[in-house]
């Protein structure tokens, strides 16, 4: 068994980190403070292929593998979790389901602008009464000739404030329960498409998370992704892939927090020596590094399983659960190492601490992940 990155992966990682140093680090604090989506950076990321990481080259994508995808998200998130989130969601729960379930015509129409970042995507499942129970979707899409008429109230939509293309989960058959949900790709600007206010969030503040409301929105039937009624299965398949991205994001946040903690521990003197010489600090750093390495191995393993076309639902759930929990432990210790300075907005650990917290919530809470894992564990003979 090989547990190492290939040359391609290392070159990719260095390239993304180099981009991060040049383009993202200089603005990371300001865009968090101002809760501003950095279009000037996003446009450059689009030109470099960050929005079509795994899309095939004939549709304008970079054609990379899932391990590469995890590497990109981790590297971006190590300096800015908001942009890591933007890219993760766009690639994994928007581009992926269109590629996996959309008709060839729909792929030709939607993927090229998404892959080059000319259009930003959003995944619209959550509603005021729909969270962990995704089958309870209340949004409706009623057939009217060759169109659907959609009414939906979607909340906590990542990329919502800037999204050009939203995958809307709506009920096409009110009598069919979980099998009565469909996914429909709706373009911003369609009459009846409204973007709500940006949420005031604790973390990932540079991502314009907002509500999306559709009021009698008419969308051609050809915009449906996959079969009618297959929406829940498509959503869950997308979330399986998405979990790898969120787990990689959690690793990135943890990596960023660990790096600044090591740097700080070497610089900060107390009792006439750098605090890195105190065993109390060393124990924390050791736990952080070990926790992160374990999380990262789970993430890469899940991505590798996907690349080898092996089942990866359990692996991605374990990776997401463990990495999210680890990121919260690690960023908490990072604040502890920084002492009072860690509580100050002048130091980046405060941002890492806030950003890490949401990884235990979105794309399935840690508790839902434990349910998923337990179900799979118990199903084994």
């Amino acid at each position: 068994m090989k547990c190492e990155l290939t040359s391609k992966h290392r070159v990719l990682q260095r390239s993304v980190l180099s981009f991060c140093r040049r383009e993202i680090i200089p603005v990371a604090k300001a865009i968090d403070d101002e809760a501003r989506f950095p279009w000037e950076v996003v446009e450059k990321m689009g030109r470099l292929g960050y929005f079509g990481i795994q899309a095939p080259s004939n549709l304008g994508g970079a054609g990379l593998d899932a391990v590469s995808y995890a590497i990109v998200i981790e590297a971006l998130s190590s300096v800015c979790a908001s942009l890591g989130l933007c890219v993760a969601v766009h690639n994994s729960v928007v581009v992926y389901p269109i590629l996996a379930f959309g008709s060839p015509e729909l792929q030709q129409q939607l993927i090229p602008p998404l892959a080059r970042g000319a259009k930003i995507g959003a995944f619209c499942l959550t509603e005021p009464n729909v969270g962990s129970d995704a089958s309870a979707v209340e949004a409706t899409a009623v057939r009217d000739g060759d169109h659907y008429v959609i009414n939906a109230n979607k909340i906590f939509v990542t990329n919502g404030g800037v999204a050009d293309l939203c995958l809307i989960f709506a009920r096409t058959d009110p009598t069919a329960g979980p099998k009565g949900i469909s996914v429909i790709a709706v373009e911003r600007g369609t009459p009846g498409f409204h973007v709500g206010d940006t949420e005031e969030l604790m973390g990932v503040r540079a991502n314009p998370v907002s509500s999306i409301r559709l009021h009698d929105c008419r969308v051609p039937l050809t915009q449906r992704v996959g079969e009618e009624g297959a929406g829940l299965a498509i959503g869950l398949a997308a979330l399986n892939v998405g979990r790898i991205g969120i787990a990689a994001q959690a690793c990135g946040i943890a990596q960023g927090a660990l790096e600044v903690s090591i740097q700080y521990a070497k610089q900060r003197h107390q009792f006439k020596v750098p605090i890195a010489r105190h065993q109390a600090i060393q124990l924390m750093l050791a736990d952080m590094a070990t926790d992160l390495e374990a999380a990262r191995l789970l993430v890469y393993r899940a991505a590798d399983q996907r690349d080898r076309q092996q089942p990866f639902a359990q692996e991605s759930a374990m990776a997401k659960l463990f990495a999210a929990e680890a990121a919260c432990r690690i960023t908490d210790l990072a604040v502890q190492i920084h002492g009072g300075y860690g509580y100050s907005k002048h130091y980046p650990v405060e941002r890492y601490y806030r950003d890490a917290r949401v990884t235990r919530l979105y794309e399935g809470t840690s508790e839902v992940h434990r349910m998923v894992i337990a179900r799979q564990v118990l199903a084994k003979p």
Partner: protein
């Protein structure tokens, strides 16, 4: 027809656990000082047409540097890889590169980085140019190519020197001549997934083992020891005049002045 530009580059040790470590893919990266040379080649070929060949020497595990060069715009990658090349100093490296360049010709330009990030000698470019009897300008900060004429400038000791060169020529390229940008992700996949790098042996270069590697190297690195550079902060007291006098005395005592 366009230009044929050869860019010589190296996989350098980015993180060494000990100074005598052999180069492995995990420890190495494309020499950051070579990236401006690649970027300049890319810019010239984009404007004037032609092709870029990337040339390197080292263990097989360092071929990633050539794949990275392919992702950064090169069309061909050639790796000089032979057990006899091991342990080469800058002169033996230049001998091997010159032999490879003879085979890769005709070319219009040979570009190098100004130095390597690991050994920092800055000798391979000029030595290779001498071996091939090519005109060379080092630390090129700007380049202009029009009407078949090549004009370059370099900054040295506060002066800006301008040169006109005959073809073919060799340059070492400073980062201010062409700022490297990151390759598209798709270009990385394309380079590593669908391209190949040619591996050339000593026999293909037409060189004898004693001309290259450790035996062909007139210099040897005997030891490398890390220096302990401790920074000490001290405050000089007294009136401004007294402080200046004390500072000057201290600088003189340490050999920094006079």
């Amino acid at each position: 027809m366009g230009l044929h530009i050869v860019v010589c580059l190296k996989a350098v040790i980015a993180q060494a656990s000990s100074p005598t470590d052999e180069r492995t893919a995990e420890q190495c990266e494309l020499n950051p000082f070579d990236r401006p040379a690649l970027a300049l080649a890319h810019r010239l070929v984009e404007r004037h047409g032609g092709s870029i060949t990337a040339l390197s020497m080292g263990p097989r595990t360092c071929d990633f540097a050539l794949f990275e060069a392919l992702a950064r715009g090169a069309q061909r990658g050639v790796m000089l890889c032979d057990a006899a090349l091991k342990g080469a100093d800058t002169l033996a490296t230049s001998t091997a590169l010159a032999a490879a360049l003879e085979k890769l010709g005709p070319f219009d330009l040979v570009l190098f980085g100004t130095q390597t990030a690991d050994s920092d000698a800055g000798q391979v470019g000029p030595q290779t140019a001498v071996a091939l009897d090519l005109p060379m300008v080092t630390w090129v900060t700007g380049i202009e190519y029009s009407d078949g004429k090549l004009r370059v400038e370099r900054l040295a000791d506060g002066f800006c020197e301008q040169f006109e060169l005959s073809w073919p020529a060799a340059l070492t390229v400073h980062s201010s001549a062409a700022e490297p940008t990151e390759p598209e992700l798709g270009a990385i996949e394309q380079a590593f997934g669908a391209s190949t790098v040619e591996i050339w042996s000593l026999e293909q270069l037409g060189l004898a083992p004693e001309q290259v590697g450790e035996t062909g190297s007139p210099t040897r690195v005997l030891t490398i020891d890390p220096l302990n550079q401790r920074k000490v902060c001290s405050f000089i007291e007294g009136s401004t005049d007294d402080q200046i006098e004390t500072l000057v005395e201290q600088l003189k005592t340490r050999g920094n002045w006079g």
